[in-house]
Symmetry: D2
């Protein structure tokens, strides 16, 4: 009963099969192979973005931080939510890769930036002068770190604010599939049609072993990116094995089916929380449940072997109700979900 994270779970059989299929004799290295070409094309197609530049890396931190360095100078200001993964969970990777950019963090309900806070912050940035640095990038996460999902219209509103200030918009899509599946829109509607300039399209949390795609919708934004990826040690020599994972997920739409499964499991937990007298800390719109549950329920779940995190950290141990984060993956066993749901619902 592991609900600690979606990355605690495994790889989809189709991914393993794709790796085996890609293991087909000699191919040129460093991305000059047919698997990479097919995978890049598949992602462009999934995004309806025939001009986009697509590149693969193996971790979400690498994807995000390389985009930050690509789009921000060392003296740049990168605007993000105060709970953004790039701020809280990447050990300073954006600062390291960009050589000093400053993350300007903003509050926002349900883990979301809002135009009402972003616009004034960009105005402050525009007047920050040499002291404060140069506004360079706005970054949002979708699905967010609180399991909520920006609808395309919300993305568009933030993109408008960013573009008015002359800076591009980045979407950290470590759980991009969960967001798109939840919103019921197309991948294009969620991204470039709404004004997203750069997308990190996550595979790892959605059935890959370790694979993420970095997408620049405007090729001009990608100039020199291959050098950055190389200099950071993120170009695989046998890149076919990176590309094959994304190819398996994207071709045929597997990524959306897996994400929808994970979302549905979280929904089941969310309903159980409410039924059991708990309170959702944020709307459950993707594959994570943030909830305050009765301490007694928490104790029973733990006793039953359920693994999940107290939120935001262990210091919450002992509180009643207990604030918790429970994350579902496409392959979280249905039986586990049912069992935890029963406990949460008070049965």
């Amino acid at each position: 009963m592991n609900f600690a994270s979606d990355n605690a779970w495994g790889a989809h059989p189709a991914v393993l099969a794709a790796l085996a299929a890609a293991n087909d004799g000699a191919m040129m290295g460093y991305g000059a192979d047919p698997v990479t070409a097919r995978a890049e094309a598949a992602i462009r197609e999934a995004l309806e973005a025939p001009e986009a530049v697509v590149r693969f890396v193996s971790t979400g931190t690498a994807a995000n931080a390389l985009v930050c360095a690509q789009l921000s100078p060392p003296h740049g200001r990168i605007y993000c939510h105060e709970d953004a993964h790039i701020e809280t969970s990447e050990c300073g990777a954006p600062e390291f890769f960009s050589h000093g950019a400053k993350l300007v963090t903003l509050p926002g309900a349900d883990g979301k930036l809002a135009p009402e806070t972003l616009r004034p912050a960009l105005r402050v940035g525009a007047g920050a002068g040499l002291n404060g640095g140069l506004s360079a990038l706005v970054s949002i996460t979708n699905a967010t770190e609180w399991g909520t999902v920006y609808a395309p219209a919300e993305v568009a509103a933030l993109a408008a604010a960013a573009h008015e200030a002359g800076v591009p918009l980045h979407m950290d899509g470590a759980r991009f599939g969960n967001a798109v599946a939840s919103a019921g829109c197309s991948a294009a509607e969620m991204t470039w049609r709404a004004g997203v300039d750069a997308l990190c399209f996550g595979g790892t949390k959605n059935g890959a072993m370790a694979a993420e795609a970095v997408v620049f919708f405007d090729p001009a934004h990608a100039e020199g990116f291959d050098y950055r990826r190389k200099q950071a040690g993120h170009v695989f020599s046998k890149q076919r094995f990176l590309a094959a994972q994304m190819l398996a997920l994207v071709e045929g739409g597997l990524w959306l089916r897996l994400a929808a499964e994970a979302n549905a499991k979280a929904q089941a937990l969310a309903e159980a929380v409410t039924a059991g007298g708990g309170r959702l800390l944020a709307p459950v719109q993707s594959n994570a449940v943030f909830a305050a549950i009765p301490a007694e329920t928490h104790a029973r779940a733990r006793a039953a072997g359920a693994i999940y995190h107290l939120w935001p950290d262990k210091s919450a141990e002992g509180l009643d109700p207990a604030p918790v984060r429970m994350v579902c993956a496409w392959d979280t066993p249905a039986a586990d979900v049912a069992r935890l749901a029963a406990i949460l619902a008070g049965h």
Copy 2:
């Protein structure tokens, strides 16, 4: 009537005289000259710290950022007030020099960090793991960015919290003289006796042209620092001209007399603010006045030619009362102070 900043004013005649005196034929470069030796010794003596390592640089940003890089790895967490100069006014220099350290900013009344907020933040940091980075440094500014002054006991309390967490304490002393003169303590009581590990001892805002001393009270903290200073382009070949400035200020205690003059001028303005129906936004303990003054008073001051900043920025124009920052230097003319005070007092 310039109250925009203490760095809008000039250099003390003694500093100019010291430069002329140092211009005495050939000396070895890069700090291997007798002026540098004397200046380092003078600062060690002023601090009663015979073992301290003292080095000179030309700007406060360089001093602070080099200390940050010296004491924090790229993956370090540096704790500071949310209004700290290193956060708001150095264009990301600490992140740049350290290669990615993260400034963890904390709120605090009157521009001061308090142990009650620092301790929990250090606890969060201790549990932040690889995601959040490694707690590396606590940095305070004295006098603060709000013109207030930490008393030695307050410094000691913060040092205790830092040291319990295993991290050193840095004091940004761009206005160190103003702080010491205000507190009426010795420079040693304000620093190493209270637990400060590294001090940026500012000269520029206190009568120098451009000179700051970096002081490590424990020589072990200074290992390799000379290389960092050199690699950052902050080693002067004719270093005697940097050292001579600090020597002129420190030898004979000129620095404290100048700081006391500046403080007294600010005190006069503060009293006028109160007399004139304005409100001090923070206690005036050094050479800066933060106040909300009647819009009409503000208009009259402007009309009279007074230069100062609205606070925190121009967006405050038009407010009533008007939030303003007025800074005095040792050489702000007494007549200017009297004239502005009269306006502030409503005469």
Copy 3:
């Protein structure tokens, strides 16, 4: 007939099987899984180094550059051969990760550093002062970029020179298996017993998809390394899939058998070169052949579909004899080797 590089070839079936086996439900992420623990232990055992710290990354560039950053400050001097991979083929990754370290390159026959050139260079470095930076690291590659192999005694002589100068020795072992198999020694004799302090133990060129181990023989050298790896985006969330690859290669000694196969294939080509009137440009001691072959032979090889690089680059096209680099992998088909050998031998 692909002899372009060993990374043009695939992954060993045992590696694929290990990935499938590791895909076994939920495990904790970021290395806190049993596969990682087993793989780290297997490498410590293969190296007879029970105290060593072992960490996994996905590329050789990441492995090398992270070691450089770990062992050199930004102002460090890293001594290496002028043809070292870290100098010629990593796009400045060591400088990027270390934040400015300088690679001091030295000539040397057959791609090898020699104590006779290293010692004077370290002496120059010791006197380089602030201008030249601080000697920080010596780095060698084994097997070298010219396909030669340092014997343990040669490694020991370089380690002695480095240690006399107070700096550690790094071995870039992208082809570590090829070196050990060639030298006929133990992995321990090739490394820590000869004085190596840090090893990059390559898997990718020897049957893995993308997996390298970084090994610090003295745990003190590894302090903070996990943060560096994380900040660089090189910590996999599902790390079991990285570790499983190395585990498959190391457990049971597969890595040495595969390397020996590749070496033997190169030996066959080398003999053919000589038989066919070509000249070896360096002794063939691992899995790469550097040779000057008759232009006519080169033309026939190309016509037969053989893929390999002119050396050092395409500008050599048209020379007679033609300087070429031919690399064998464990899975280069025996038929391809025989066919190319026949051409090289002039049959």
Copy 4:
């Protein structure tokens, strides 16, 4: 008798007078002062470059390294002479500021790059791909580190090679005055008319205390430079005191007169070397003499109290003839020059 370096000597009285004159009450900080405006204009005029962007910093290392970072990405290749100051004497500052750029060093007689070596190196760079990085900048020093001077035509030939390869040309002019005075051309002929894109115009070695100007002839090259300078801690708050130094040197042509004096003194020493049976190691075209002098002459010079460096370092002690570097400044006393010349001439 100090001939160790031109930075062992002092500041010109006009510089001191200019500092005193600039110490005139309040001015706005950070370059928004009239002295800075006048100094920038004076340099534009001296260079006949009305569109050029001029900025001041306090050290030559800062000037050079900031230009490198401005014109090269982290993955850039910067081509320079193997004895270039940026390679040998800046502790890795270009790598540090640029975040990883690689200095590609080339040999060349008399400390000069030649088109015949630069062009092939740029060709190699153009084919270096991701492994080798992106050609970004060519950097030359004038006067060179060997005391020689590129004539405008030589600069133009190198600029042509650089521009053909699509990269700009930087001139490290720490001794720019010595070069221009020696060549007898205009500052414009030596720079932008010959194709120089960025110039570091040195003041420190030519009568300033610590002042250098960075000049970008094409304003497009300067975009964002002010942020870089600020983030590196190289923006003075009281910038008038930096600008005043350059103003004093440039207005009225003092810089060229001082440089010519220093050059003439070196010429006197050079003639004495030859007369006394020594051999010049490079043509003496500026203010430094590199010579092999009889050991006995060396001993007599030392005994007489002459200070200068053995070349390239102390390891040359004891050689006969003794390789030495002797540098003259504008203020090296004529008597010292005469006395050393007499010894060198064997009198």
